[in-house]
Structure formats: structure tokens, C-alpha cells
């Protein structure tokens, strides 16, 4: 695009009193921005009118020196065709530095540098052009799994107008819902057992013209990317889909593993809750005079499933009601650790008590089950009475076993394996592979593996609090019990939400913009392939598995899989990966645009490469709260710390910058990185830069990575002060002035 630059400087919020605007106008002009216009309050209607008039006159690349880009966003947006770059003269200049005449010179240099940095960025960036697939994007949605979640996902998407393919491995739809006799109480007054409603649900699915059902099929292969998946079924069909919902449900925890603790397998009358459901459905509950349910059979147990399966308490209450309804005189015991009946289902617990079910709270130890000629005795601690009780003459013992997701577990090698000694890396990779499951649901033809990456316990999510639908494979969403243990009613909601996420993914693929977390972003990484050395770093390090490889190890990008974090750009040693508005060259040039004073001026320069999602808002917050720090600091916001290319460190040090801080978000098991492992990658990469520093004869103390998020706001001034002291003790960068 032909750029017509314009620059505006705001004097509001104390900026006008703190800075010399003649000087800033000079800097803007020297930086190629033309004659900067100053205004008392740029965000006022008059100020905005000033800008708008220039935009109407053709200005399309605007540098606005005012407040942080995080505020007044609506005001300073002038349509998709106008590039806007904000220099933070308020939060990152005036708010965070000492006031007064004495500090004026350093403050002025800070402001001037921010204008140079922003001007450089504006000069280096282009308007993004949305990516378009070769064929028009496919909007059909593939749903894998025909249980309650899959059926509801299919129906929800179809009702919103989407074409749906529903694939089920069994010869009938319904999944576990088909095995159930009844549902527990789900609606007011939460006391009555309810029909499963399966027949009606299946009828609706089969009667919906938008849904095509493939029973007796599994997914043999999933190739492609959002908007353009090609899915091969075991039955031979090939389908084109825009997005995928994996609703493959759960598997009961194998009861054979409870043979020692709970005598499973020793008698046909020691059964699991699934078997109990089958008996109830078969009407085979006659003649039961005494039944015991043992909760957490293999759940909440470090030797089996450490987590709580969330449904077993309610399942046992329901099954206790089956027994009571068949024989109101029957003695029914529920031996539990904690009764977990959340929300309105507390009433189900009360109802079971009203029906005469007896509850005994046990400790961590499992009860002892003994068989006395077909009648069982269960001996258990009763922690409420601080005693041991023996329940005799039991006809049936039901083990409330938990649920495992029907999803293969993926264990990834630690990131330190990247770039380390090849033999050691191979060993770690092999070790991780050995701990991973070998089977697959989707059989993804992805370079990083055929399965969805998993967190703990084989659940394929990535941000299970704030963004529960996000897997690490774009356009593929998990729904129902494969995502998290949940009840039928919750699985229905979950499936409905997943259907919307899938529809969004196809919409985004068609329009060429990103999905979460950079929703709407139209930029995407472009590869200058002539210079690629087939090092595989980008294909290995992409957190979303967006890049495939050909047989010669050339990267094959899939832009509709991409989340636009720039991790590939940070990984590439040849610097061949760029976005239209974000590139190695651009950030490098921004760093080099900082004016570095001579050594004898004793004014060090430190840059902070800061994650724009967590660190940058934290910096704004600290500044607004009145924190002050060194005026020698220059912040450069980044999409993700994982996009830091090592060449920027070299660029900075060779241009005389004395120190480099990297502010990323929390890494590790409880990571907060919206791009999963960007922060972690940056940390690993930085641990390997000593080589670069040695080559330049520089101290490794000059580069440091810090975790900064909303929880660390109050620590920011201290971290900066301490780093400045380190830099002072290390001394000036010897490259100054070269």
C-alpha cells in the first residue's frame, strides 16, 4: 500500500506539562512522520475530528503519541484500511518516570525513543491480506461420536444451518445413554427419575436433513486444516469438513484393576455401576433385599484414577432409587468418602435419604468385602461414628467406578529437548512416546502427531478454566465427557457450545481470520522458502501443530490452523517467516531505532520485550498506580514471548543496548500462556544464548527472562530496579558507539 503518514501528539493527562513538544515534533519529522500535530486532548471530539479530517484527506498510516494502546481503542480506530500505531507517552513515559525538571532530559529521551520505535514499526508494517484457501472453505462439521454429546452437537449445529456428518463406531447411535435405564432427577422438583429421551433425540437427528449419519465407522485419517479437512472413514467414504467436534465420550475405569481391593471378578454379584445400569435396563433387579454401593471405587485414588469422576455419586443415588422402587423394603447402603451432589442435585441426595437409603462415610481405606455363600459382608470404617461397621447379608455389591476419557494420552518431551544434544533429545522424545497411547481417534495427518495434545489424564484441553473448548488443534473441539467428567445435562450444554465453536472455525477459515485468542486477526505467517534450511524448528515448535513437512523436511504451512502467535517466527534461525504487520525485520529495526547515548553520558539503555497479553497490561496497571522506574527502559510489546527471535538479542547488543529483559507469562504445569508454551519456549531459547553472548564477548547477565502477569504488578518496579543494578555492575555495553 502507498502510505501517507501522519503523526499526532496528545498533551492531555499531564503529558503536555512533562514533555517538550517542539523536540517531539522534530523527532517525528526526522523519523519520516512529517509534521506532527499536537492537541490538548486528542481523544476529545475536536482532537478526533483533526485526525478524521486527515484520514479523509488520504492519511492512512497514523502515529498517535498519547495513552496506552489498551485504552481509547474505539476512538483511535479509523477503519480497516488505516494503520494506527500508538506510542505510550502516558503510561510508559509520563506515569512511570519521576516528575520534575531534574528528570526532564531522560523523560524526553524516553518519549522520543517511543516515537522512533513506533515510526519504524509503522514504516515496516503493511495491511494484512486475509488468507484464502484454494478451494472455497467447507462449512460442514464432522462430529465424531454418537453418544449424548455427539448427538446434541450434531443437532445444535444443524439447527443453526450447518451441514453435519455424524460418525459413530457402534452400529447404533446413543453411546452410554443407550445403556441407561433411566436418568436421575434432572428437572424440578429434582426428585423423580426421568426417561433418557434417547429415542426422541435419535429421531430428531435422523429426521434432520442437514445431518448425515455414518454408524459402524471410525475415522481412519484426518488431513488438512480448518475449512478444508479431508476425513477418511473406516468404511471407505471420504468427507470434506470445515471443523471437527470430538465427542467420543468415556470408558469405565477397568474394574479388573480393583480385583485386590474390592474383590471384583470374584462373584457375579460384585458388579460395577455400568453393569448395574445394564441390569436395571434389563429389568433384572428383582429379589434384592440388601445392596451396598461403594463410592470412589478406583477414583480419588492415587493408585487408580486420582481425580473425581463427578457423576458416580449421582449415579449411585439413582441406582439406589431403582432398588428401592423395585423393593421399598430393601436395605440400601451407600458407602462414601464425600457425597458430591452439586447444585440442585442436592435435592436428589435428600430424596434418597427420604426413601430410606443409608449413608456411611468411610475413610481413605476401601471396605473389605467377603463372600459368605453368595451373601456378602462389607466391613468398613464409619468415620462419622469413629467405629467400624459390618454390613451383612448383602445380595449385591455395586462398585461406583469412574470415567476415563476416550482419548489417547499424549506425553510431550520436555522443551529442553529442543536444540539440545541430539542423542539426549532422542532419548527424551522416545521416553515421552513410550508413555503416550499409541491408538488414535482422529488419526490426524499432522507432523506433530496423530492425536490431540493432552494435559493431565488424557483430557485434550489447553485452558480449562477460561477457555475450556480450546484444544491445541485449531478447528477441532472436544465436547462432553472426553473433555472433562460431566453429567448428561452438562454434556448437552457442552455439545451445544462446541457446535458454535466449530461453526466459528469454519466462518474464520472462510473469511481468512484467526480464531481464539487473536480472533479476527487477518495477518498470517508467510515463508520465504528459498532460504529455508529444512531445520524443522518451526514444524516442531508450533504450539498448534499448524505446520506440516514434506518428505524433504520443507515446512508446509496451514494458515487456517495458525493462531498467529509468531512462535515459528521466533524459532526460525534463517528469519524467513514474517507476518505483514509483524516480522523479525520489523522488531529488529524498532530496536535499532532506539538512540543509544555515548558511554561517558552514563545513560544505559535497556529494552523489555514484553508479552502484550499479560505483561503489558500489568505494566500499564503498575504505572497507573503510581509506580516509578528507570527512564532508561524501553518496552516493546510482542504477540507472545515465544515469537522472540534470538537475532533481536544480537541486534540489541550490537547496537549498544546494555541489557534485555523478557517479560513473559507464567510457564510450567499451570502455565498462563495463551499460546500454551510461548513463554516456556522463550525461556528455553534464552538459556541457550550464552554462546551468542560469548561470541560477542558479552556477559550473560545482560539478558534475563521474568514471569510477569497480573499477579506480579507490584513486583515490576523492583524487578526493573534490580536489573538496572545488575547492568550497572556489569558496566556499559562495549559495543556502544560502533
Amino acid at each position: 500500500m502507498a502510505k501517507k503518514y501522519a503523526c499526532y501528539l496528545c498533551k492531555g493527562c499531564g503529558i503536555g506539562e512533562a514533555l517538550d513538544f517542539d523536540n517531539l515534533q522534530e523527532v517525528a519529522s526526522e523519523s519520516g512522520m512529517g509534521e506532527a500535530k499536537a492537541h490538548e486532548a486528542l481523544c476529545s471530539p475536536e482532537g478526533l475530528a483533526l485526525i478524521k479530517a486527515d484520514v479523509d484527506g488520504g492519511a492512512n498510516a497514523l502515529l498517535i503519541g498519547a495513552c496506552s494502546a489498551r485504552v481509547k481503542t474505539d476512538e483511535f480506530t479509523f477503519g480497516k484500511e488505516v494503520l494506527v500505531e500508538r506510542a505510550s507517552l502516558r503510561e510508559q513515559t509520563v506515569y512511570c518516570t519521576e516528575a520534575g525538571e531534574e528528570a526532564a532530559a531522560d523523560r524526553q529521551m524516553l518519549a522520543a525513543d517511543y516515537l522512533r520505535i513506533s515510526a519504524t514499526k509503522l514504516q515496516k508494517m503493511e495491511l494484512p491480506v486475509p488468507f484464502q484457501l484454494e478451494q472455497p472453505a467447507e462449512k460442514a462439521i464432522l462430529v465424531v461420536g454418537g453418544g449424548v454429546a455427539g448427538l446434541n452437537a450434531a443437532l445444535a449445529a444443524a439447527k443453526a444451518g450447518a451441514k453435519v456428518y455424524l460418525v459413530e463406531k457402534e452400529d447404533a447411535l446413543g453411546g452410554f445413554l443407550g445403556k441407561m435405564a433411566k436418568l436421575g432427577p434432572q428437572s424440578p422438583p429434582y426428585q423423580e427419575l426421568q426417561d433418557t429421551g434417547l429415542e426422541d433425540l435419535v429421531g430428531q437427528v435422523q429426521g434432520n436433513g442437514n445431518i448425515e449419519v455414518f454408524i459402524g465407522n471410525t475415522v481412519a485419517k484426518t488431513e488438512g486444516a480448518p475449512g478444508n479437512f479431508t476425513v477418511s472413514l473406516s468404511g471407505g467414504q471420504s468427507l470434506r469438513a470445515g471443523a471437527v467436534i470430538q465427542a467420543t465420550g468415556w470408558t469405565p475405569y477397568p474394574p479388573e484393576k480393583l480385583a485386590d481391593e474390592l474383590a471384583y471378578g470374584s462373584s457375579p454379584n460384585i458388579i460395577t455401576n455400568v453393569q448395574m445400569e445394564e441390569r436395571a435396563k434389563a429389568g433384572d433387579l428383582g429379589g434384592l433385599n440388601a445392596v451396598a454401593f461403594i463410592q470412589c471405587a478406583g477414583s480419588r485414588d492415587a493408585n487408580h484414577l486420582p481425580y473425581c469422576s463427578a457423576v458416580c455419586c449421582l449415579v449411585s443415588l439413582k441406582q439406589a432409587m431403582y432398588v428401592k422402587q423395585a423393593n421399598p423394603e430393601a436395605a440400601v447402603y451407600v458407602i462414601y468418602k464425600d457425597i458430591r451432589t452439586p447444585g440442585q442435585s442436592e435435592e436428589v441426595y435428600r430424596q434418597a435419604q427420604r426413601e430410606g437409603v443409608i449413608f456411611i462415610r468411610r475413610g481413605e481405606e476401601y471396605p473389605k468385602i467377603s463372600d459368605h455363600g453368595g451373601k456378602f459382608t462389607v466391613e468398613t470404617a464409619d468415620v462419622t461414628l469413629n467405629d467400624t461397621v459390618a454390613i451383612e447379608e448383602l445380595d449385591l455389591v455395586v462398585l461406583a467406578t469412574g470415567m476415563k476419557p476416550n482419548n489417547p494420552k499424549v506425553v510431550e518431551p520436555p522443551l529442553v529437548a529442543l536444540g539440545m544434544d541430539q542423542e539426549e533429545a532422542k532419548r527424551l522424545t522416545a521416553e515421552a512416546k513410550a508413555q503416550s497411547d499409541d491408538w488414535s481417534v482422529l488419526n490426524l495427518a499432522y507432523r506433530q502427531g496423530k492425536n490431540l495434545p493432552t494435559l493431565k489424564y488424557a483430557y485434550p484441553d489447553s485452558h480449562f478454566i477460561c477457555f475450556p473448548y480450546e484444544t491445541r488443534r485449531t478447528g477441532i473441539y472436544a465436547a462432553g465427557t472426553v473433555r472433562r467428567p460431566m453429567r448428561v445435562t452438562q454434556a448437552i450444554e457442552d455439545a451445544t457450545g462446541a457446535a458454535l465453536k466449530a461453526i466459528q472455525a469454519t466462518t474464520a477459515a472462510a473469511a481468512g481470520f484467526a480464531v481464539h485468542p487473536r480472533s479476527g486477526d487477518e495477518s498470517f505467517p508467510e515463508f520465504f522458502m528459498q532460504r529455508c534450511t529444512q531445520c524443522k524448528r518451526c514444524t516442531e515448535e508450533c504450539p498448534f501443530g499448524a505446520i506440516n513437512e514434506d518428505e524433504k523436511a520443507n515446512p508446509l504451512p496451514n494458515p487456517t490452523r495458525c493462531r498467529r502467535c509468531g512462535v515459528c517466527m521466533g524459532a526460525c534461525p534463517e528469519r524467513i517467516i514474517s507476518f505483514k504487520n509483524y516480522s523479525v525485520d520489523m522488531i529488529g529495526a524498532m530496536i535499532k531505532s532506539i538512540e543509544v547515548p555515548e558511554e561517558d553520558e552514563e545513560k544505559p539503555r535497556v529494552i523489555v520485550l514484553a508479552c502484550e497479553n499479560d505483561a503489558l497490561p500489568a505494566i500499564d496497571m503498575a504505572a497507573k498506580a503510581g509506580a516509578k522506574w528507570s527512564p532508561f527502559i524501553r518496552f516493546l510489546p510482542l504477540r507472545c514471548l515465544g515469537s522472540v527471535n534470538l537475532v533481536w538479542i544480537a541486534d540489541a547488543l550490537s547496537s549498544g543496548i546494555d541489557g534485555i529483559l523478557l517479560f513473559g507469562c507464567k510457564r510450567g504445569d499451570d502455565y498462563q500462556c495463551h499460546f500454551i508454551k510461548g513463554s516456556e519456549l522463550a525461556n528455553v531459547r534464552m538459556s541457550k544464548i550464552s554462546e551468542t553472548l560469548d561470541r560477542l564477548v558479552l556477559e550473560s547477565d545482560r539478558v534475563r527472562v521474568e514471569e510477569i502477569g497480573f499477579g506480579e504488578v507490584d513486583k515490576i518496579p523492583g524487578i526493573i530496579a534490580e536489573f538496572m543494578e545488575t547492568i550497572e555492575s556489569v558496566g556499559p555495553n562495549p559495543y556502544k558507539g560502533f
Binding site: G12, C13, G14, E40, A41, C43, S44, P45, V71, T73, A156, A160, G161, P188, P189, Y190, P306, Y307, C308, A310, D338, R340, P342, G343, Q344, E346, V383, T384, N386, Y457, H463, F464, I465, C466, F467, P468, Y469, R484, M486, E493, T496, G497, A498, A499, L500, I503, Q504, T507, V515, S519, G520, P617, M621, K666, D670, Q672, H674, F710, G711, V713
Partner: protein, 412 residues
């Protein structure tokens, strides 16, 4: 593309519903009663089980809103009437005066000029705030509010005189508008159950008897103590902290249902205390610990801390003593004997009451006996107005509600 979707409530469920619908290409009007978005989660110090700051996710969501022209946000607004039928509603919205217009730069001069203070709702009344204030440090929209108590008086004039941008509008009368929408998503959230209704806990009798939502603010950096956990009575560090589970929940005289989150909230708050005050002892009095699904791992972690004790007992009486401490009385279930225990800070784990139990939707909508909204076409409940739930369920529910709304408005 089709008609607009009206979302009522700008908390986690409502924000999710609004964003997910807008990102699928639909126009959304988001109505929020507070002067800021984020709802109850904005007032939390950390989320369980990751102990991460809620603003990490909220920041991304607010960025999504800022970048999406399809979402119109109305703060300080409430729905006063709904007419019409699924597919074609006319919704009356009343917006309270903020007395600050969009020229506000959040520079803070009005707050400096004003001397009057009001009880700080964001900190659940634990401190006072200037009557011209930014609702909290991360407020979105990032704009000041003038309390109605000063708008008509000299303090209001001070605020106006101090503002260089003409942003203080003391004549602001608010607004009444009509929104046409094809579907309404009701995500009005919850209110902590009023602890004073549980008479035998004597809430209000001692400043050192607080609720779990207040505890969040005591631990939060932006809270009344800048994040230091102190006894509100004397500012001292507590040494023996008690959490009373099911304070008014699972109780047919109060909230008969289980509020679902209070167990995890107390486990989480126990970690706040233990991280800050290594000498402090924590006792959690409970009926059942309900740490569902992988939250169990968090329970396991907290249980491993020797200074966190779990006592299965329903506390029957709480009374302050002369030392400013609180004496709990309960029954030892094993021996049947009553016991007394003295603690210097007591946290009532009060539950969540759906806001639809307190303020009904102005339309024909079915509720259960607790006031939770039942499933229906057209006016779609989402989040904690449907059932007590934690954050991820609210997000899930908001997303599902968005699709149900889209099914109604698509193609219209």
C-alpha cells in the same frame, strides 16, 4: 446478519455469550448493571485450581470486545421490560446516570478533587472510595463514575471543575432505550447469600467474621489491605483462621441446594493464608468436600499441608469474645459431644443465590423453586442463573446459549 442478540449480564457467562455470538458474525447488545464488565470474577484474587489471576483471561476477552465492532456494550444498564416473542423482542433498557461521559481519560483529577467518600462496592464494603472513582484498577470500560450521592451538590461541582476534558456531566439523566432483538440471553449472575440471615452465625457482630467474597478482596492486591490478609477488626495478622462451609447452603431454611464452588473457594483461600502467613493455622469445617473432577488434585494438594485441618462438623453457633476472637460451637459427630473452638478470623463460605431469585426476568419465564431459570426458547438462561457453577461451566454455558440464540436469529 440477522437480528441482534441481547445479552443481559456482563460477567463470565454474559461476556462469553456475547463474544461467541459476535465472533460467529452476529450483532450483540451487551447490557451490564455495574459500571464495568467482568462481574463477580473481576472481584476474585485468583481462580482455583491454577491459582491464576482472573484478569489474564478477562484481558483477552476485553481485547476481543474492543476489536469486535459487532458488540455494543451498555454499562450501568438494566432491562426493565421485554415484549414480543422468540425471534422478535422489544426490550426496554434503562441506563443509570454515570455523570461521566466518554470524554473521560481516566486521568483521575476528579477523584483527587472530591473529598466525599462512599462505601466501596467492589471491595464488598470493606473500605471507602472517593465518590468520583474508577470502579477498580482494571475496569473496562476504563472510565470514572460519579456517585449519585454527590452529583447534585458541591462535591459534584468540585469534580466537574477539576476535569479539564468536559467529561463530568452533572446533568446526566441516564437513558431509556429500546433494543430490538431476536433472542435474549439472561446471564444476570448471582449474589452471595446474605450471611446475616443465618442468625446463629451472628454476622455483623464482629469485624473479624467475614464472608468468602470479602476474603477474596482481602487477598487481592487491589483490595482494601493491598493484598495483606489482616483481621479487619485490628489489622493484625490472623493466626487461627476458620472456614465454615455450607454457611446457609444445603440448608432447607436457607439455600436448599449446594452452591458447588464454596468448597474449592475455601481450599483456595486456605492457600492464600498459608502462602502469606507461614505460621497461621487453618481449619475447614465441612459436611462433604466437593472437589469435582480434576479439582480433586487441588484438594489433595491442600490436604497435604499439615497446617490445614479438616473437621467434619456443622457449626451451630458463632459468637465473638472479649479478645475480638470468635468462638465456634459444633458437635463432634463421633462422640456426640459439643465442642468449642476459638479462631481469630472466621470466613463464612456463603453460597450463590441466583439473581433471578432476587429479581425476576420481566417476562414469562419458568423457574425452579430456588429461582433458577428453566430452559426455554427465546429467553435463554446462561450461567449461574441456571445452576450454581464454576467459571469454566459459565463459559461453556454462555457459549451454548449463544448458539441457541443464533438458531433463532439466523436468517431472520
Amino acid at each position: 446478519m440477522g437480528q441482534a442478540i441481547l445479552v443481559v449480564g456482563g460477567g463470565m457467562s454474559g461476556v462469553s455469550a456475547a463474544l461467541e455470538a459476535a465472533e460467529a458474525g452476529y450483532n450483540v447488545v451487551l447490557v451490564e448493571k455495574n459500571p464495568y464488565l467482568g462481574g463477580r470474577v473481576a472481584q476474585l484474587h485468583q481462580y482455583f485450581p491454577k491459582l491464576c489471576p482472573p484478569y489474564c483471561g478477562l484481558e483477552i476477552n476485553f481485547k476481543r470486545i474492543k476489536n469486535n465492532p459487532r458488540i455494543q456494550v451498555l454499562t450501568m444498564a438494566e432491562v426493565t421490560g421485554i415484549e414480543g416473542a422468540p425471534g422478535a423482542y422489544k426490550v426496554a433498557v434503562k441506563q443509570a446516570p454515570r455523570y461521566v461521559n466518554d470524554k473521560c481519560t481516566a486521568c483521575g483529577l476528579c477523584g483527587q478533587a472530591v473529598e466525599a467518600t462512599v462505601s466501596n462496592p467492589f471491595n464488598y464494603g470493606l473500605d471507602q472510595i472517593k465518590a468520583a472513582y474508577l470502579p477498580h484498577e482494571m475496569a473496562f470500560p476504563y472510565r470514572f463514575v460519579i456517585d449519585p450521592s454527590i452529583a447534585g451538590g458541591p462535591e459534584g461541582e468540585k469534580a466537574k471543575a477539576a476535569c479539564p476534558y468536559g467529561a463530568v456531566d452533572l446533568e446526566d439523566q441516564g437513558a431509556e432505550l429500546t433494543v430490538e432483538a431476536g433472542a435474549v440471553i439472561w446471564a444476570a449472575g448471582w449474589t452471595p447469600y446474605d450471611a446475616s440471615k443465618v442468625e446463629y452465625y451472628n454476622f455483623g457482630a464482629s469485624p473479624n467474621l467475614i464472608t468468602n467474597v470479602q476474603m477474596e478482596r482481602l487477598a487481592a492486591k487491589g483490595g482494601p489491605t493491598s493484598g495483606k490478609i489482616q483481621r479487619p477488626g485490628d489489622g493484625k495478622e490472623p493466626k487461627k483462621v476458620a472456614f465454615i462451609q455450607c454457611a446457609g447452603s444445603r440448608d432447607v431454611n436457607h439455600l436448599p441446594f449446594c452452591s458447588t464452588i464454596c468448597c474449592l473457594a475455601s481450599l483456595k483461600q486456605a492457600t492464600y493464608v498459608r502462602a502469606q502467613l507461614p505460621e497461621a493455622e487453618v481449619t475447614i469445617y465441612f459436611i462433604d468436600i466437593r472437589a469435582m473432577d480434576r479439582n480433586e488434585d487441588f484438594y489433595t494438594k491442600v490436604k497435604a499441608d499439615e497446617k490445614v485441618k479438616f473437621v467434619k462438623s456443622k457449626i451451630g453457633l458463632i459468637q465473638p469474645n472479649e479478645a475480638g476472637n470468635l468462638v465456634l460451637e459444633g458437635e463432634n459427630t463421633a462422640s456426640g459431644e459439643r465442642f468449642k473452638a476459638e479462631h481469630d478470623l472466621v470466613v463464612l463460605a456463603t453460597g450463590m443465590q441466583p439473581n433471578t431469585a432476587l429479581n425476576k426476568i420481566p417476562a414469562e419465564v419458568a423457574y425452579d423453586e430456588y429461582g433458577f431459570v428453566q430452559a426455554a426458547e427465546g429467553i435463554i438462561g446462561a450461567g449461574t442463573v441456571r445452576r450454581p457453577s464454576e467459571v469454566h461451566v459459565s463459559v461453556q454455558d454462555g457459549t451454548a446459549a449463544a448458539l441457541k440464540a443464533i438458531q433463532l436469529v439466523a436468517g431472520r
